[in-house]
């Protein structure tokens, strides 16, 4: 377990997660402040950013002081100098999830935030170009949401040519 960076905002809940990685839970309001604090503490790279839709697991066990919401944004930060990873999980809201963009802290999250928007409909405030990235521009819905059914193409059986 390592300590939170000195400039971290209040209200951050730290929990141990598997594989000696540190997980912190933070309110959306303090999200960018916390990530900025980690960056100043030597976490040079944002390795990964993704969203999770906990539609059927609203009562999942989370540390005390964290109110679970349907959508969660998960950020994995990497420190090359300390050889450490840290995971920031932010509860993004139930309907119309919205968090601030990390673009000003790590420009490299641009594509990853666009992907999370495309797949989950999470709005990243302040993102320079929040458009769909993988799906076509006119696509309806956000495919990785749990209430978005897996599509299937009906199998078309053709009548076999009969004997002449």
């Amino acid at each position: 377990m390592i300590d939170l960076p000195p400039s971290a905002p209040d209200g951050v809940v730290v929990a141990d997660v598997l594989d000696a990685q540190i997980g912190c839970f933070v309110e959306p309001a303090q999200y960018v402040a916390l990530v900025t604090a980690w960056r100043e503490d030597g976490f040079e790279m944002c390795a990964d950013l993704c969203a999770v839709d906990y539609l059927s697991h609203m009562d999942r066990p989370l540390p005390d002081g964290v109110t679970p919401t349907r959508f969660e944004v998960v950020v994995n930060l990497l420190s090359l100098s300390k050889r450490q990873r840290v995971r920031v999980r932010v509860q993004a809201g139930n309907e119309d999830p919205e968090v601030d963009s990390l673009f000003d802290v790590y420009p490299g999250v641009e594509a990853m935030e666009r992907e999370a928007f495309d797949m989950f409909g999470v709005i990243f405030r302040g993102h320079p170009d929040l458009t769909r990235i993988l799906m076509p521009e006119d696509w309806e819905g956000h495919p990785l949401r749990k209430d978005y059914a897996v599509g299937r193409v009906p199998v078309q059986f053709k009548e076999a040519p009969g004997p002449r």
Binding site: V17, L18, A47, D48, V52, D104, A111, E137, P143, V150
Partner: protein, 450 residues
Amino acid sequence: MSDMTIRTAERVELLTAETAEGAQELQRRTATPTSELGREVGAVLRLDGRVLDPNAIDYERRDDETMIINMGPQHPSTHGVLRIMLELDGEFVLRSKPIIGYLHTGMEKTGEELSYIQGATNVTRMDYLSPVINELNYSLAVEKLLGIEIPERATWIRMMMSELNRVASHLVWMATNGMDLGSTSMMIYGFRERELILAFFEKTAGLRMNLNYVRPGGVAADLPDGWRDDVTVICDTIEARTYEYDELLTGQPIFRDRLVGVAPLTAEEALALGVTGPLLRSTGVPWDLRRTMPYLAYDQVDFDVIVGTYGDNFDRYAIRLNEMRESLRIVRQCVDRMPDGDYRSQDPKVTPPPRARINESMEALIHHFKLFTEGFHVPVGEVYSAVESPRGELGCYIVADGTSKPYRMHVRAPSFVNLQVVPLLMRGGMMSDAITVISAVDPVMGEVDR
């Protein structure tokens, strides 16, 4: 016949409408906000001392002085279906924007529908040039959630197979990069040598690509009889051939002219954009997960992490060429030190009973049936695991909810993140250098679009 004939203008309009991606596309200069135009002068990185300076942007340039053209999605040098929109001033690239998604098949969604045993068949199709490493990454994540140990022999087999795969992947890169730069001989040689490795994969796992060989709990089958000879021949042949490539390409003036000093990248920029792999190492940052955050048994073998100095395309070429030699060095050590023992975990929870037992025992049959229909249950938890793929950090984030299918499976694809560096590398360069930039970034579209 007359209604079949569509006039050219109408056809162009039709084709344009068919491929239009609306707001995802690179917009005309007059329709682009200042902050976006800032990309043209590199201000988007917001690094220290590089704030957006509006004076640096050329507002005076009118739309009819520049030209926006499409490169791709069907273009031989885009290595798949990558579409790049370029704003050109004569032959110089002002702005560019990669447009992706043409190969999107919803693999992350599919991953939620497949059990943990089936999952490896899904992830292996993402980065189709390094299937073993994809499976490995997924299996490591699942094993972390399960909390099981895998036998030593399985670890070493995995390591040997991933290094062979890394060589195969870099060989394809050498081949296609050669092709992009006009060296068609390299194209043939690269694929010829890769065939040796694919033949060994076929002998071991039954398939040349998309092996489904590394699975949670170990590997699917033990190495075939005579594998030591096969692998030694592969190592000897390819190692000798790397020196031939060196002779063919490295000193060749045309090849050098097109790579040396082209598309330089600084370490600061690479880190800000989340770039990993050979691209990051070309800037002089010695970051290789095999060395810096070891997994498998990489802390027990000798190899060097190759780093560049200038961060240009030539460094990227040199790094990949030398990484092949380092990988072969690891493979040789695997051959020498391959331990005996099981090739998969003997934990009955994740490993099906051996074939012979199924014939004689009803319980074994039921056990086998349950494992392959329902699958094993993984305890509640979430994990992020990462390995070094030939393209950079390949990560897998799995959320398990106690059932036999992952609740969420996210793959951090190195090509997807690395692709963001393309506009930066192309900016200000020649149109012909744009080809070498795509090649140097080495995106695998199956992984970018997933």
